[in-house]
Amino acid sequence: MALPTYATTGQKIWHYSYLTLCGLIFFFLIAPIIVIIPLSFNAEDFFTFTPKMLALDPEGYSLKHYRDFFTNPNWQQALVNSVKIAPVATLLSVSLGTLAAVGLSQSHVPFRRAIMAVLISPMIVPLIISAAGMYFFYSRIGLQGTYFGVVLAHAVLGVPFVIITVTATLVGFDRSLTRAAANMGADPVTTFFRVQMPLILPGVISGGLFAFITSFDEVVVVLFVGSAGQKTLPWQMFTGLREQISPTILAVATLLVVISICLLTVVELLRRRSERLRGMSPT
């Protein structure tokens, strides 16, 4: 963004201070994340840069924390738990969220806004409140401390993301396509899977990725609703920080950052694909 030649002094000052401000915001967002990456390769058991690291001496770096993560049974159990919980919770959020979004996008549904607000509320209500509420409710019905309880709780947290992304995709969806399908003899279920689903798929997948990341990163709810048998990665990191300060956490954090970046790249690619597809639709 270059300044036009006729810019006044005031405009120039504003322009450069604006750029500085943006740079600062960017720095504060990114720096804490970037800094953990080199630290995770620390050869010592410290959270700080050692003189050797700063001198870029290869001896200052090692993969020992990564090794620890992949061999320590506590971390491995946490990883297994996370991998067991997140995909199932995501699947539940995606199925229920997509159906809810499709249903709520139809104008004849009564109280659409109220229902939508209730479904999205887990995103707005402070997490600690939801978690406490779930704890008491799930204790009553015997779900507290069970695998299914944690999956269900995470699914509830994921649903709002799916509803929001799918609703957004449905805005651009041409209703006459479903009418055309019905007219050609396809029943509503066939129409949904053959016509509507492929076109809203980018929204469904990005909603699903958000739901997955939510479940994968979540610590508050799982502390309340889960028991030792459902100790997930974030939970293990949390206890790791409290009980033994080990840079293994940094290695795990780096891995999580890498996974998140990969997932978000997928979201972005899908968004581009959907834009292309929508540009293609003949309306």
């Binding site: 006459s176 055309a180 399908a181 007219n183 050609m184 003899g185 029943d187 066939t190 293609m280 003949p282």
Partner: protein
């Protein structure tokens, strides 16, 4: 082809009413019989209820009252996907994520037809609309006219007996639209299918249809073949809506022997055909088509009625001349004459004598 006995109707609307809000009727007591193989057009301004009728027939809207029959069977309670009616949508509604061939195969797949049968039918349908080599393309790679052909082929590929078309040519440019009108008509005739066509374009309705139902205010104002509709409109709405029309207002003086004597507002008396005036003293709008008026004395037919007129505007349009006149106080009286070698070219300000045959002059409701 037109049928009026209820037993013969392939599609029957029997006292159908439709209201969206439970208060105002969008369609008011519709009765319509459509014969097998007929090309029927529902023509009307927007909001006249024609699209609602089509949607009720397709099953996307339910009739508030009355019954719709298809081939003798009531279809009010049959889901859209079980009706077996083909439809071409205004925006084509082609599936953007499927190729042209996949689009066409879709209705065959849901009917569980085998792959080889499917491919054969798809190819035949594509050939029919002269798009045989486009099977592998996606809809976005086609022009508007090509998409329109694919939409047509897709509505026909599963061989429905009834095909509905909702302003299918609305998005095309004029030349392509005219071309497609003939093509749709030709294909419909060849296949012998029944077509219900909705449009607000009266030229389209006149060129394509066996019969036209003119809708206004939720009612059919007139249901007739194109020539009758144009030459013998039954009320002022139809006369105004179809083609260009000249209106002279006046009062009926007397009606006898199939002729109504009308006293125009400027005092002139003319003979007219009484259409929906019944007694002397009624106000009436007299309708005359612009091309039935003649100002060339040598061409004036025997028994023609003549009136004085002042030329206000003369427009050269190539094949025809369009002249705007002041006649009996009406300043929008238009005459269209063919550009023949011996035709007179008028100048604004001239006073001339115009004439027409009394049978071309229809006294309609005021």
């Amino acid at each position: 082809m037109p049928t009026d006995s209820k037993a013969d109707g392939f599609v029957v609307f029997d006292h159908v009413q439709k209201s969206y809000d439970g208060d105002t009727l969008v369609v008011k007591d519709l009765n319509l019989n459509i014969g097998k193989g007929e090309f029927l057009t529902m023509l009307g301004p927007s909001g006249s209820g024609k699209t609602t009728c089509l949607m009720m027939l397709a099953g996307f809207e339910t009739a508030t009252h009355g019954e719709i029959l298809l081939d003798g069977k009531p279809i009010n309670n049959i889901a859209p996907h079980k009706r077996g009616i083909g439809m071409v949508f205004q925006n084509y509604a082609l599936f953007p994520h499927m190729t042209v061939a996949e689009n066409l195969a879709f209705p065959l797949e849901v009917r569980k037809m085998g792959k080889s049968v499917r491919e054969e039918k798809v190819q035949r349908a594509l050939d029919m609309v002269q798009m045989g080599s486009f099977g592998g393309r996606r809809p976005a790679q086609l022009s508007g006219g090509q998409q329109q052909r694919i939409a047509l082929a897709r509505a026909l590929v599963f061989e429905p007996e009834l095909v509905l078309m909702d302003e299918p040519l609305g998005a095309l440019d004029k030349q392509l639209r005219e071309h497609m009108q003939f093509e749709i008509k030709r294909i419909a005739d060849n296949l012998g299918i029944t077509v219900v066509y909705v449009t607000h374009d009266q030229t389209e309705a006149l060129t394509m249809s066996d019969r036209v139902a003119v809708f206004d205010d939720g009612r059919i104002q007139q249901l007739a073949p194109p020539d009758q509709l144009y030459e013998k409109p039954e009320n002022s709405f139809v006369a105004q809506f179809i083609g260009e029309n000249n209106t002279l207002e006046g009062v009926v003086e007397s009606i006898k022997d199939g002729t109504a004597l009308v006293k125009l507002d400027n005092g002139e008396l003319i003979d007219t055909v009484p259409v929906n005036v019944s007694a002397a003293g009624e106000r009436t709008k007299v309708s005359i088509r612009p091309e039935r008026v003649e100002y060339n004395k040598e061409r004036l037919q025997e028994g023609a009625h003549t009136l004085k007129a002042e030329v206000l505007e003369f427009i050269y349009m190539g094949d025809i001349f369009r002249t705007r006149l002041r006649v009996a106080g009406n300043e929008d009286f238009v005459v269209k004459t063919r550009n023949a070698p011996d035709q007179v070219r008028l100048k604004p300000g001239e006073t001339i004598e115009i004439g027409w045959l009394p049978e071309d002059c229809r006294a309609l409701d005021a």
